[in-house]
Symmetry: C2
Subunit: 339 residues, 2 copies
């Protein structure tokens, strides 16, 4: 198995992507990697590590450009044809890599993947699927922002793809799927979610109805579907509030020596939550529905996060997630096609 | 000034509404209250308090019904004509009360207020405005769920009304207004927010552009506008996550005696945050845009929260917030009317 890694993508590239892939190469023996990006810089970064025994599994593919956070996703594909993320996707398209991993610009990965790889049969729009941690278990939120103007049929596709992903990669039987809305009863929501509700009822997933913000964490489901606009707002609100609360608590704890002592004694509690909520552990968000395998790691990915994104990419290949999705879509296509 | 209090609304009614109004009557001398609800029960609750010196300022208005959380807002107005919230709004309509305060069913208050009081001239839909606490200052989120299918003109109205409310009630000059979206650049968002962006640019408010979930807490504005579907999802996601994180931290702190000791030493930090994020302090959410004054207190309001909701209702009257809104809408009406 060969994985194309966007070595220039992310806030700490090429250092963290390179460090992460070396961790992964040591832990998992079943893959080789092609590092895509400015070859000189990437080779220099690799040279900082001890790669004895790994050399045969690392190759390089030069790409002269890097997508900037200011670029629009679509423009980046058109104007920066030699960007590291575009070239990584090109390798997947050419059959030279079975999966792409990138911690770079989300929009650029989505645009490159959608345009170059196109979508799976029966899927019209891909959805970005992000695992959100809760005190009991993580739930998969999709679409987290790949497709801003979604139709109910797209949302039905997310439900099917998300269920298969949770079953195959997170290992949970019969995942419960909810529709993000503003009340739990069937009639609650806007016109769009009411249509989605009806279409979701005809998909082969374990659809349990509407879910709302209060229930996301108190009674977490396995999959929560919504259009990419709402999903992106929910994702960023959660990330923003969690970061703010964490900073707020730290600030208050520093206000007196007694509080600081207390915080030191209680540090195990904070470290435990930090570990449980770390995006490092979940290892990247799959772009579900493209005719290929693209895993988006968080922009601020640590080496551990990159390693786990590569783990997910490997599992995606070995579990044949895309083949399962195509089967499920075919069996439900007539039921949802009209929407 | 006379305030109609829905004495049967909220999770802890009539106990907390009655206890709260008695706190308010003691603190503020400029109002009288009419307690609306099952008169026997409400009188019995009042009798549990020392009301010496307050008797002349308390009157009763019997209402035989209570809106159930399962009722739909609109149905409750049609079918439970004698509900405490409907009767409280009737008093405002008849000019027998200058403001309504309720901790009951949000949808019932919105429906009763919109149908019976109608909207202010130039405003087509009311918006529920909720203060969200952050480490530096609270921002006003609206619409938090009064109007699920909004138009860009409705959102422009929220921006104008929210700015006036923040200026007059929260006392901040030149409030900064942002549009809830999925990226900060002007071109980011869906078709609806792009239209809103354009209309907001023509309103007389200090519109600073799009805001997103990451920025809500790290760089808080004064007013954040969106349609009621998105606003309700954002509000409930924030409430749900904050509650979950708080419970999560408590659970981890209880896992060992050392952690518990640390938590005890650091308790000042947690209490400080609890106080700063308490919905009690902000005192209820105004339903902006109705031709009257309706303050929604949180369903789980404490007596302190009810007292503060009454404080806000009083300030709303004395600051002539609705007259200011009408002036501002008139001056900007032509600019936003086309949308």
């Amino acid at each position: 198995m060969r994985i194309a890694l966007d070595a220039m993508g992310g806030d700490f590239a090429p250092a963290n992507p390179v460090a992460g892939v070396i961790l992964a190469l040591r832990e998992y023996k079943d893959f080789t990697v092609v590092l895509v990006g400015d070859e000189e810089k990437v080779r220099a970064e690799v040279a900082r590590h001890d790669t004895r025994g790994l050399e045969d599994r690392i190759s390089y593919h030069h790409a002269s450009q890097v997508v900037d956070m200011k670029d629009s996703g679509l423009d980046s594909v058109r104007r920066k044809k030699d960007s590291s993320v575009s070239r990584a996707v090109d390798l997947a398209k050419a059959g030279e890599a079975e999966a792409v991993v990138s911690a770079g610009h989300t929009g650029a990965l989505v645009a490159a993947a959608t345009i170059k790889l196109r979508t799976l049969p029966g899927i019209h729009r891909p959805g970005l699927a992000v695992v959100i941690p809760t005190p009991t278990h993580g739930f998969l939120l999709l679409d987290a922002g790949a497709n801003i103007e979604a139709s109910p049929a797209h949302v039905a596709g997310y439900a099917i793809m998300g269920s298969i992903y949770v079953r195959e990669i997170l290992g949970r039987a019969n995942p419960r799927v909810g529709l993000m809305s503003i009340g739990t009863e069937a009639g609650k929501g806007n016109e769009f979610t009411k249509e989605c509700y009806e279409v979701l009822g005809r998909t082969p997933v374990n659809f349990v109805g509407n879910t709302e913000g209060h229930a996301l964490f108190s009674n977490p489901l396995d999959v929560v579907v919504c259009d990419g606009f709402v999903g992106n707002i929910v994702l960023k609100t959660i990330e923003g509030l969690a970061k703010s609360m964490s900073g707020w608590i730290k600030g208050e704890l520093k206000k007196s020596p007694i509080r600081l002592l207390g915080a030191w004694l209680a540090q195990g509690a904070f470290l435990s939550i930090k570990k449980q909520t770390s995006t490092d552990e979940y290892g990247g968000s799959p772009l579900l529905g493209v005719n290929g395998i693209c895993i988006k790691a968080h922009g601020n990915s640590s080496p551990l996060a990159i390693k786990n994104a590569i783990r997910v990419a490997r599992e995606f290949v070995t579990q044949k997630v895309n083949a399962r999705i195509v089967e499920a879509i075919e069996s439900s296509h007539e039921k949802i096609a009209a929407h």
